[in-house]
């Protein structure tokens, strides 16, 4: 007898809080010179510093500071004139020092906001998500649990640790509590993470790949009775690793909380883990006693005091905000809302834009990427970006069509060829012998042949029944193996039958 979502929102108001961890794409780690490349052999990217060998000392990566300041600026934060690293002390085997270098009460960026827009039945609706802080910290190593049935931590006999990821720079972006989203809480949460992802990507500071863990979201959810002032007890769902999961996790937690509250039970303040398969969360093992992180200023590092000139230099490097950028493109390309949304949802806006920058007509570029190419990707069950075709290829094909050197049909063959790995468009065209038949005499021969074979149809056309021309054109195209320009065929045919 579980509650429906409608039951929940009829009675309760959800309050969100979102913490996003983003791995920066610096070349080297946060505090040492080890490489950050994803997927290396275990423990090949470690050194005395990130293994916490006795005596090793951290030194801050300047690029990581710059990236964090840029993130802060892009999120409308103030950049603190004085900030510091602190040690967060707790024991865990994937954290070599048994403390994490993080920022505590003196983060580098504070008090920002992100505006997000979601689609509702009443049209697009805007929400402002306020940012509490943006701070720097370091990632942990990875453990592989051996001996358990599922490779999970529970039931494992022992664990194997790889510290390649330990010390990769992480930026944590924490929102203030987000009230007032009402029934749209799940959508707002998703839209916020999506917007954040777009901003981070446009800044070029992170790979923002949720599936690889370079962007991770913790979603805090609490409920209070509509009209109530006091906040309810929140749960914190960890490491939600896709946009869809953000939405599902928030929705799922709202329902779970409401069920507890309706039964008169209490929501436990705890960490929960999102389970992709069921869309539900499960309780983390609750600790028998509270942790006490014993934060104190990291004595091995000195404070960060970015001066105004540095901040302005970084501000000048900021790209156009993605939402503004999108608005501008939509206007320039005169794309209807729905088509724009389709491009964004398919994650192809940047691809289409790149194609347009290379000279393609925006409508053509969009229709190739969202039409034929997406269809092939779908068929092959891969993402468009995994296909072997690039914006340069598409721009070239569009140009050839415009010049009349390819027909739409031939262009499709070229696209197929490029995707099949036959090479660049020029190579596909020459290898497949694709060529538009431009020779009017050759076309005329085909026209005469078709008219001779279908005299009755030809007669109908001659008598002014133009739709009948289709059958003749089909035959002519077949005769010329599709390499003729259909428009030119029609023109010549109608002329031949006295209808020009």
């Amino acid at each position: 007898m579980s509650l429906t979502y409608e039951d929940v929102i009829a009675k309760y108001e959800p309050v969100l809080g979102l913490e996003v961890h983003c791995e920066l794409n610096t070349n080297s780690k946060m505090f040492c010179g080890c490489s950050t490349i994803f997927g290396a052999e275990p423990n090949t990217q470690t050194c005395p510093v990130c293994l916490a060998l006795p005596g090793a000392l951290p030194v801050v990566n300047e690029k990581a500071i710059e990236s964090t300041i840029k993130i802060g600026l892009a999120l409308n934060c103030s950049i603190a004139p004085f900030s510091r690293f602190a040690r967060k002390n707790y024991f865990y085997p994937d954290m070599p020092k048994n403390f994490q270098i993080s920022q505590y009460d003196e983060p580098i960026c504070v008090n920002g906001y992100v505006d997000v827009e979601i689609e509702t039945e009443e049209g697009p609706k805007k929400f402002r998500v306020e940012i509490e802080r943006v701070h720097m910290e370091e990632d942990t190593g990875k453990s592989l649990h051996v001996g358990g049935a599922t490779g999970r931590i529970h039931g494992a006999e022992y664990s194997l640790l790889d510290y390649n990821r330990a010390g990769i720079p992480l930026v944590e972006i924490v929102t203030k509590i987000v009230p007032g989203t009402g029934k749209y809480a799940p959508e707002v949460a998703k839209a916020y993470v999506a917007e954040l992802r777009d901003i981070l990507r446009s800044l070029g500071v992170s790979d923002v790949k949720m599936e690889q863990g370079s962007l991770r979201c913790d979603a805090n959810v609490s409920l209070r009775l509509i009209g109530a002032e006091k906040l309810g007890t929140r749960s914190e769902t960890k490491n939600v690793n896709s946009l869809r999961s953000v939405e599902r996790a928030v929705r799922g937690e709202m329902i779970r909380h409401a069920e507890l509250l309706n039964k008169g039970e209490r929501v436990v303040q705890e960490t929960r883990h999102f389970q992709e398969e069921s869309g539900l969360t499960r309780s983390g093992r609750s600790k028998e006693q509270a942790e006490d992180y014993r934060y104190f200023p990291e004595p091995d590092l000195v404070p960060v005091e970015p001066d105004a000139a540095w901040i302005e230099e970084l501000r000048a490097q900021l790209p156009e905000r993605p939402s503004v950028h999108r608005k501008r493109l939509q206007e320039e390309w005169s794309v209807p809302d729905k088509e724009m949304a389709a491009m964004i949802n398919a994650d192809l806006l940047d691809t289409v834009e790149a194609t347009v920058i290379l000279g393609s007509d925006p409508t053509k570029a969009r229709s190739w990427w969202l039409g034929e190419i997406s269809r092939i990707a779908n068929e092959q069950n891969v993402s468009v970006k995994e296909l072997a075709i690039t914006p340069t290829d598409v721009a070239e094909i569009v140009a050839l069509v415009a010049k009349g050197e390819l027909t739409d049909k031939l262009a499709r063959q070229v696209v197929e060829g490029v995707i099949a790995g036959e090479g660049k468009p020029a190579a596909v065209i020459s290898a497949r012998g694709i060529k538009v038949v431009n020779d009017d005499s050759a076309l005329m021969a085909a026209i005469e042949k078709a008219c001779a074979e279908q005299p009755e149809t030809a007669e109908k056309v001659r008598n002014g029944h133009l739709p009948a021309a289709g059958a003749l054109i089909g035959a002519i195209m077949k005769e010329t193996k599709g390499q003729a320009d259909a428009a030119r065929v029609r023109e010549l045919l109608l002329g031949h039958l006295g209808q020009a």
């Binding site: 060998l53 801050v60 024991f91 403390f99 104190f296 590092l301």
Partner: protein
Amino acid sequence: MIRKSAAEMANALAQGAITSVALTQLHFNRIASVDKDVHAFLHLDTDGALAQAAAVDAKRAKGEKLSPLAGVPLALKDVLAQKGIPTTCGSKILEGWRPPYDSTVVSNLKKNDIVILGKTNMDEFAMGSSTENSAYGPTHNPWDLARIPGGSGGGSAASLAAFEAPLAIGTDTGGSIRQPAAVTGTVGVKPTYGGVSRYGLVAFSSSLDQAGPCARTVLDAALLHEAIAGHDPKDATSINAPVPQVVAAAKSADVKGMKIGVVKELNGDGYQPGVRARFEESLELLAKAGAEIVEVSCPNFEYALAAYYLIAPSEASSNLARFDAMRYGLRVGDIDGASAEEVMKLTREVGFGREVKCRIILGTYALSSGYYDAYYGSAQKVRTLITQDFTNAFAKADVLVSPTCPTTAFKIGEKSDDPLAMYLNDIATIPVNMAGIGGMSLPSGIADEDGLPVGFQIMSPVMKDERMYSVGAALEAALLGTWGAPILSKAPALGGVA
């Protein structure tokens, strides 16, 4: 030869009077004969040292330009990482660990072709003032084997006093270079914080730790100071500025017109009569050499000890968290079904000594929520007040002076049951670490009542380390004039084997 100063040994090497291999071997011979009594060393790297010495000799034979101390042997405190050489910090928890990297101090020693004989004993993780807290047994004072050699760097200081090495490296968090120097009749210098890289120095208290030179003369200390000092990009707290000209200062030994401030609070009650007598005599000698003696007051120094015993354990509780049996070092209790958490707890119980555990718990307490402000936070404020006291005092004097410690060497076991009495040893040395300034201890004579050496402390402002060398060298010269022979020639304990 082994009783000469490092500078004299360097001269002999330069003139071809002896090879580095022979000089190194002489020291290993000396170690073989006396170290069973002194126990200054935890590990000897005989092969490595002799190979290094041979390499220096080869360079010299080829006529290569060598650094001033090239070929001179040195003893390294076992708290500094040396690639491939056991580094235990005097603790069971690191037994058998061989670092895969060199500390910057060791890199600098190697760059200067200084021959590293081995690793010296110390209080576990540098926590102590007597070297009794070493998991590998105490070191004995060459002046009287029943007495402590100071700590934590008792091994380094004893190796000098026993003529097992002419140079040594120590580290000083609250006096661990200067107090052992004082009680063994040797010279020890804690440079300005940030003057010598901490990279590869196994941290006790990061904001206080500083490596520095230990020697038998002020000039030797200066030569070693210049060899190990300098900016290191691997240590974010390293000062990016030229190394103070300490060798030139030690050679000039000029104190004419210098103002020497006597810290009122670091003398008087609680200081042994012989310590006070030698201190007064030294002041007279400095005045005779042309210095002006003034009195300064540092009223907040009385809180320094309390603040130190909050700050150092707090940082240590975090620094020592990495010794958890997961990646290196001891692992205890890893039997079927044991969890990582249990193994960590058992290993840390067995691997750490009592004093270390006590300080970790104290530091954990001082940082814990609800107590942070009252303890760690307040201690940091005291640190500000101490620094202000120094700033005010240095406005009136070029250097400040005091006895290095209240007493001469005490007997092994005498204070091990009384932590507070033990901590009082460091009362005069701790303020220097709190403010990050430079401090030196050099011998000022022998206390009449027990015949044991007494230390004289000189403190200089941040990155003005050359001042303490000028004053130290001047005092050393004046004292030598009154003694007629170096103070260590009066050490009785090893007389028979010396």
